[in-house]
């Protein structure tokens, strides 16, 4: 009897654990976004940079210069997405509290001239080593305005994504990934478990 009880308890624990994993996994998977029009408007108005591969198959990645897991996503999944014809559009913003003058100058330049080549150089170098050589200073009025716009975009997107259960009202999950699903609606992913990113690739035909 005691043995049967032990088996039952163990079985229940196993089922519970599997259920917990499944629930976590599902909550973390890609989802259709609420506030779609507002999010789409923000993304379309942002000066993203991309290799220009497609106007239809698009993935937006919101990130900033020294985000290690944004860099990892770019290294690991961008080649697969681009090979499948997906235009990988990157929107870089500046963190208001702790950004450096050089980082602000780099982001301002990306928002000003939208150079994919500059972005590739920009993210390869840690913020502490980025010199922004040859770029207009972050104190130029134009740069100040562009940096402020990048922060404003991140602030608005953070709130909208949090209302979709991705990140919080205070903090944006990075990378933030948004794309248009096969049904034409915007999709997003918390992707806090790296395994879940396979679904992003699947939905964009890049798996």
């Amino acid at each position: 009897m005691k043995t049967l009880g032990t088996i039952l308890v163990a079985a229940c624990a196993l089922v519970g654990a599997q259920h917990s994993i499944a629930v976590d996994d599902i909550a973390d998977r890609p989802k259709t976004l609420q506030h779609e029009a507002e999010i789409a408007s923000l993304l379309q108005s942002a000066p993203w940079v991309s290799p220009g591969l497609s106007k239809d198959k698009v993935l937006y990645m919101v990130s900033w210069q020294s985000c290690p897991y944004c860099l990892a996503y770019e290294r690991d999944d961008f080649p697969k997405l681009q090979a499948a014809g997906v235009d990988t559009r990157v929107i870089v913003y500046v963190r208001a509290v702790s950004s450096t003058p050089q980082e602000r100058a780099g982001v301002a330049e990306l928002w000003r001239h939208r150079s994919w080549e500059l972005w590739k150089r920009f993210v390869k170098i840690p913020t502490s080593s980025w010199t922004a050589e040859g770029l207009p200073a972050d104190t130029e009025p134009d740069s100040v305005a562009l940096v402020a716009k990048s922060q404003d975009l991140a602030d608005k997107l953070r709130v909208l994504m949090s209302e979709n259960g991705i990140g919080t009202r205070q903090h944006l999950n990075l990378p933030t990934l948004i794309w248009r699903g096969k049904d034409g609606h915007l999709r997003g992913c918390g992707c806090e478990n790296v395994e879940v990113r396979k679904y992003v690739l699947e939905e964009l035909g890049a798996s």
Partner: protein, 284 residues
């Protein structure tokens, strides 16, 4: 997700009711999904002309990490911007000995679990006393675990300035925080470059007992290949550590940073700071 505003709304109301006019409210804790961050002081009272150690402590959930002063291939150092009353000046952050983590060929230097960043505040002799002052700091830190979350918070901590009623009772949390700091290397340290290899030679005088791993954490973010293997040999009390240089490091004149020693018989690493000119002709 625990929202800061939702916590602070009732707390703020209570604080307003409980604190008499003229007293400062303590608002020293920021709680997020991944971290609990707190600003604390070693003592609650300090005399004019004295100094006070304060700590920004961060407790991370399992699997999450944050970054050292040199974050590695990417990442961002923990940032503190002080807003202090006249006559109070903050010294530099004292960084605990870091650890290394790697993912997708990206190496980072930083911390998991618990860390405390100590800062010394100097109080000018001219600061009025007895009085209460408010220490304020904007903090920002990046936490990562398969995703990254840039977090921040504003910390406020009231401190009494009093020449008479001092509090010098030992604070265990600060003792532990000091134990986690690297200390100046007690033996000579030399650095020599040959090709793309940097050889750090430390000693003699290093104990061989149970030394399991040695790792160099540079202050210069462009000096070494952050994720590369670091091989050490220890013979007759002299340590030789081989580190791969970056292609950009050929013109660097000195190596500085922290040597971290992990011992098989202790979970607590030992850290040693050093600065050494790089010799180009000594080789291996």
């Amino acid at each position: 997700m625990k929202e800061r505003t939702s916590i602070l709304a009732p707390v703020g109301l209570c604080a307003l009711l409980m604190h008499p006019p003229g007293a400062y409210a303590n608002d020293a804790v920021v709680q997020t999904s991944q971290t609990r961050a707190e600003l604390s002081a070693e003592h609650s009272v300090v005399a004019p002309g004295g100094s006070l150690w304060v700590a920004l402590s961060i407790d991370l959930k399992p699997k999450w990490h944050t970054y050292w002063r040199t974050p590695g291939d990417a990442g961002e150092p923990i940032f503190i911007k002080w807003k202090l009353p006249p006559g109070v000046v903050a010294g530099p952050i004292q960084w605990p000995t870091p650890e290394r983590f790697s993912f997708s060929d990206i190496a980072g230097f930083g911390y998991t679990g618990h860390l405390a960043l100590l800062t010394e505040l100097k109080i000018a002799p001219t600061v009025a006393a007895p009085a209460e002052i408010l220490l304020e700091a904007d903090g920002a830190w990046l936490v990562c675990a398969e995703i990254c979350v840039p977090e921040d918070g504003i910390f406020r901590l009231p401190i009494k300035i009093d020449p008479v009623h001092r509090n010098n009772v030992a604070n265990a949390a600060f003792t532990a925080a000091r134990d986690a700091l690297p200390r100046p290397a007690p033996w000579p340290v030399k650095a020599a470059a040959s090709g793309n290899t940097l050889m750090i030679i430390a000693g003699p005088g290093i104990s061989e007992r149970a030394l399991k791993r040695v790792m160099y954490f540079p202050y210069d973010g462009d000096l070494i290949a952050n994720g590369a293997n670091q091989e050490f040999r220890l013979q007759d009390g002299t340590l030789k550590l081989e580190v791969e240089l970056t292609p950009d490091a050929s013109g660097r004149g000195e190596a500085a940073g922290v040597l971290r020693f992990d011992h098989g018989n202790s979970p607590v690493p030992a850290g040693y700071t050093f600065t050494a000119p790089i010799s180009r002709d000594a080789g291996k």
